[in-house]
């Protein structure tokens, strides 16, 4: 399920090397172009495919779900804030999708470092980190003792 690089289009800029979460996109020592050093480890997250400014990276999926003749290509247009997908089926059908890159303004999401350090006794609480606010509810549902039935039901 690996990514592969069209070396004639690649200009060795290193964006894919920087962004790959598995650290498997590296630079070839003969041509100074990018290549996938360990296809077995590739998650097909498409991070490198989207990041490549030359659109020089593509994915070759395994045959049971991505048969020969298919194609999935994406075009990330940062200046417009969009990412477009073109899916071509082996029978020739095409489907095109356009999505925004983000739905919130850049910088609007609080980073983990911006949260206050929790109190030490928070470990004794039944609630997990950022609950119940992160769930967009007032409180977690809970049973009170008088709601429990005694004896055989």
């Amino acid at each position: 399920m690996p990514t592969f690089v069209y070396m004639t289009s690649c200009d060795g800029c290193g964006h894919c090397v920087d962004i790959c979460p598995s650290d498997i996109m590296h630079i070839d020592t003969t041509y100074r172009r990018a290549y996938n050093i360990e296809p077995n480890f590739c998650w097909e997250c498409y991070a490198c495919v989207k990041a490549c400014p030359q659109n020089a990276i593509d994915v070759r999926g395994y045959a049971e779900f991505a048969p020969m003749g298919h194609s999935v290509r994406c075009l990330r247009e940062e200046e417009k804030g969009t990412i477009s997908w073109k899916v071509t089926f082996r029978d020739g059908r095409e489907k095109n999708f356009v999505s925004p890159i983000r739905t919130t303004p850049w910088g609007s999401i609080k980073s983990p470092a911006d949260y206050e350090v929790p109190a030490p006794d928070a470990l004794n609480s039944q609630e997990l980190a950022h609950e119940p606010d992160a769930l967009n509810i007032d409180a977690l549902p809970a049973l009170t003792p008088d709601q429990l039935k005694q004896g055989v039901v």
Binding site: D18, P53, K80, P100, P105
Partner: protein, 261 residues
């Protein structure tokens, strides 16, 4: 030093015919090396096969006149301004190296063939352009070598690690650096000038003779690839990429560029 034709001064010990033969041999090495590279990698065959596929997959035909117009645009934009580079530092470094190399090579050719001896006074501009070209290559090249090279900046390798991909840039930097040092020493009458002349000739021979193994021939292949990309966009095939999106509402600012390279 900058207005002296060092090749004319050299003609006292090395005959102009030998210098001119050397230059011709270097040109033949480039031509022959590029052809050998193309034959070995079958790059011409793949290029024309790809060209045929692009024509077949195109949604609208592109006439010969349009291709010619796209070729002019490719030359004016992608080639002359190195527009394919999205990283501005890489682009500036490449422009310095490219134009410096052109100045350096063309002025060398003119001085060796048209003004080979002191009997043929050299216009002062030529040695100035030679020195300027060599200095531009040094600035752009060393900047690239130490700071911009992706295997150093992005992968964290030592700048002193040498791999085969470095053959072109290293031999180019060696040629211009030894050439400049030789010119300075020759102008000052130093005995060490001969040593650096030898190093200059060796580095230049490696630069032009290693074309089949180095990236030298990218200067011929990349414009062809850039033209092919333009034709793909013009005929609608776009390398099977989706079409540009309709402009939607833009959220936030552009992505912050990576800060470590």
């Amino acid at each position: 030093m900058f207005t002296t034709n060092h090749f004319a001064e050299l003609s006292a010990t090395i005959s102009p015919a030998i210098m001119q033969t050397f230059v011709v041999v270097m040109i033949l090495c480039v031509a022959g090396g590029t052809l050998l590279d193309m034959l070995h990698k079958k790059s011409a065959r793949y290029f024309f096969e790809n060209w045929r596929k692009v024509q077949e997959k195109g949604k609208q035909p592109v006439s010969g006149g349009e291709v010619a117009s796209l070729a002019i645009q490719t030359a004016a934009v992608e080639v002359l301004t190195s527009a394919e580079f999205c990283n501005p530092r890489r682009r500036i470094s490449h422009l310095l190296t490219m134009y410096g190399f052109l100045l350096y090579v063309i002025s060398t050719f003119i001085m060796v063939f048209w003004y080979p001896t002191p009997a043929t006074p050299t216009p002062a501009i030529l040695p100035v352009l030679w020195s300027l070209g060599a200095l531009m290559v040094c600035v752009g090249g060393y900047w690239f070598w130490f700071f911009i090279r992706v295997d150093v900046a992005s992968e964290g390798n030592s700048p002193f690690r040498v791999v085969r991909a470095d053959l072109f840039i290293l031999s180019l930097l060696a040629s211009v650096t030894f050439g400049l040092i030789w010119a300075v020493l020759q102008a000052s009458g130093s005995g060490a000038a001969t040593v650096f002349l030898g190093l200059y000739l060796i580095a230049t021979t490696v630069l032009f003779g290693s074309v089949p193994w180095s990236k030298f021939s990218h200067m011929f292949f990349k414009p062809a690839a850039a033209l092919q990309k333009k034709v793909e966009t013009a005929n609608g095939s776009r390398r099977n990429l989706p079409p540009p999106a309709d402009k939607p509402e833009i959220l936030g600012s552009a992505r912050r560029q990576p800060g470590h390279y």
